[in-house]
Subunit: 385 residues, 2 copies
């Protein structure tokens, strides 16, 4: 049988094959240092576990409204006020099964078949697959060190077409950990409003920024849709809870979609998330963040010393996007070689797009400092031994 | 701004407006008996709560593989062997965020834009919205009491077109609670195979059949995709876990989609589900089922006495689809009237399609027997008092 083009067009993550090989090697007794994994290695913080346990004990784990627990929507609105001094109404917030659910609602609501969405290359690979899944078209824009690997207002102006409905940006970005300056962000928000389109702003790494305090795009204007998640800063990946903030005019349609396509985000995750904003939990998260920062500071200088070129200093998330030209002309083979020879698993550039991926690899510092040190020692030995 | 036709075409559930009004009345102190709700009122059984608590205590709630916990896939394969004497390999099972996630994977994998999907009217309203969400076309086929409100082989033969890729059937069905005979089911599976299409069989109410033991469609042939859920028989709605069973040839593509569109089903739900197959849990579920059966037996005869016509005896699920012509020519207004006047909430036929919906309402017996008795007393008073 011929497969639908939708399924032919959606690419699997190349890192999955590498991960499968890593698991094989581990089954053979090899020690693999995982630096390919895009999720925090920290456990769910204790205050969240305590809160959710007391809910679970009651056994009343029924559906919530499709838009989420009202108290959680309120807590998120309050979070915007407290952390960003930004007024967002609870009615503008929808709780989703992870940021994935939020992106599905956003695109499903604003994009018709054949409409075009702009995004940076390199970028998070699921974004273009979501667009294809919903029969839209992605126009990727090659970005480089000059714009900190981010889309710029100038590029939006140049690339926006009649059938463009949205641009997806991410700050901090995956895979580069770079930020968009607030002036640029607000200018882009103004631009999409003038065009009658949308700016989808992925802020899932927002809490993990190491020197700066970021401002949010939420509520900038009614053409901005912000996506966030409890999986990164809040260290709650497996629970599957995220959220979006959108203009009131979009919320009814998103609610309608949510009722149909996922009914509601998981109830245990929503109660967990409700506890995530408590002061004692934020304390734990700030400790996690400090540890991420130590890892980044260490790994950044160690990779430079080894000869990797970090073209733009990552300022957030838990990734370092490194130019590996000094060692290879084929980053994919390079990643496989490192896995086979020294048991270090990293992600090849080609998972993030077609913009010179053969020159780049992504290191995730989602493993402990001692393990990162071990990885660096192995790399040193292998590359310079 | 003009809305995309996708979002214009997807209808909200009419019952949501009714539910909102019910909440308003409750806030004013009115007592509302909820018979519009499609989820079990029972708590998550204690054996499941105990198992998940011990997992949560460890805090290790990270992502599982996109296809689900390997042990859970094994447990489900074992369940097919044990309950149905049907051989299904663990590799054919994918764990999904509810049956919704399963339907998304199934349609996303087999349906191209513009392809047609057949389904019964009346039927579960989300099905056609899923098809529209993914830019397919639904051909609804009016069904009636003659075929127990189910699609028949004859109808598939008559209605299958060149661009038809699948039929979605449900046994037991929502809203009618009726079954498809096994001979008919296997004949339909043969038919879609001959056509090179797919039969998507919704078995989410499978455990809740009151006189018969059903046989499963899982594994009938490689053109059958079975969808199931932990939300109904297993009484675990809010956790959001379901599964599908498909031919090995489809699994890689479904895995690829799952990686992109939801990453993985919620981890707590998957551990909960793993405990759901334990003997002591099945004992609890069989008690729940007995209670559902008592409610059905009571409500069925009470509604008949009141003058509702139940054209086909429901044999499963927790719904009674009742002809209300004796009382009204407008079931939508009738449902609103019952809510306003006697505080009984039921679902009007128009949420299930366009096949004479004005003559039907759906009663869900997802509330206790004493509450059902109260509802019947109020109905008697109102309709005959």
């Amino acid at each position: 049988m011929k497969k639908p083009s939708r399924i032919e067009d959606i690419q699997p993550f190349h890192v999955m094959a590498l991960l499968a090989r890593a698991r094989e090697l581990e089954a053979q007794g090899r020690d693999i240092i995982h630096m390919e994994i895009g999720e925090p290695d920290f456990p769910t913080p204790q205050p969240v576990l305590d809160a959710v346990s007391s809910i679970i004990d009651k056994g009343d784990i029924h559906y919530t409204p499709a838009t989420g627990l009202p108290a959680l929507r309120e807590a998120i609105a309050h979070f915007y006020l407290q952390r960003y001094q930004r007024l967002v109404k609870a009615e503008q917030v929808i709780i989703t099964p992870g940021a994935s659910g939020a992106l599905m609602l956003a695109l499903g609501t604003i994009m018709a078949e054949g409409d075009e969405v702009l995004m940076a290359d390199p970028g998070y690979p699921c974004n273009r697959n979501f667009v294809r899944f919903l029969s839209g078209k992605t126009r990727t824009i090659a970005v480089n060190a000059e714009s900190a690997y981010q889309l710029s207002l100038e590029q939006l102006e140049q690339q926006w077409r009649d059938n463009t409905v949205a641009a997806i940006i991410a700050t901090p970005s995956n895979p580069t950990g770079t930020l968009i300056e607030y002036d640029e962000l607000t200018a882009m928000a103004d631009f999409v409003r003038a065009k009658g389109g949308y700016l989808i702003v992925d802020e899932i790494y927002h809490g993990l920024v190491y020197e700066n305090e970021l401002e949010t795009a939420a509520g900038l204007n009614e053409h901005v849709i912000v996506i966030n998640s409890f999986s990164k800063y809040f260290s709650m990946t497996g629970w599957r809870a995220g959220w979006l903030v959108a203009a009131p005019a979009l919320i009814n349609d998103m609610d309608k979609l949510a009722q149909n396509i996922f009914l509601a985000a998981p109830t245990p995750a929503q109660y967990a998330a409700l506890a995530a904003f408590k002061a004692e939990n934020i304390e734990v998260l700030e400790q996690y963040k400090k540890e991420f920062q130590q890892r980044r500071d260490y790994l950044l200088s160690a990779l430079k010393e080894l000869g990797f070129v970090i073209e733009v200093e990552p300022r957030g998330a838990f990734y370092i996007y490194a130019n590996c030209e000094k060692f290879t002309g084929d980053s994919d083979q390079f990643a496989l070689d490192l896995l086979e020879n020294i048991g270090v698993a990293i992600t090849p550039g080609k998972d993030f797009g077609r913009n010179r991926p053969e020159k780049y690899v992504r290191f995730a510092y989602t493993t402990s400092l001692p393990r990162l040190q071990q990885a660096v020692a192995r790399l040193k030995d292998y590359l310079h031994g």
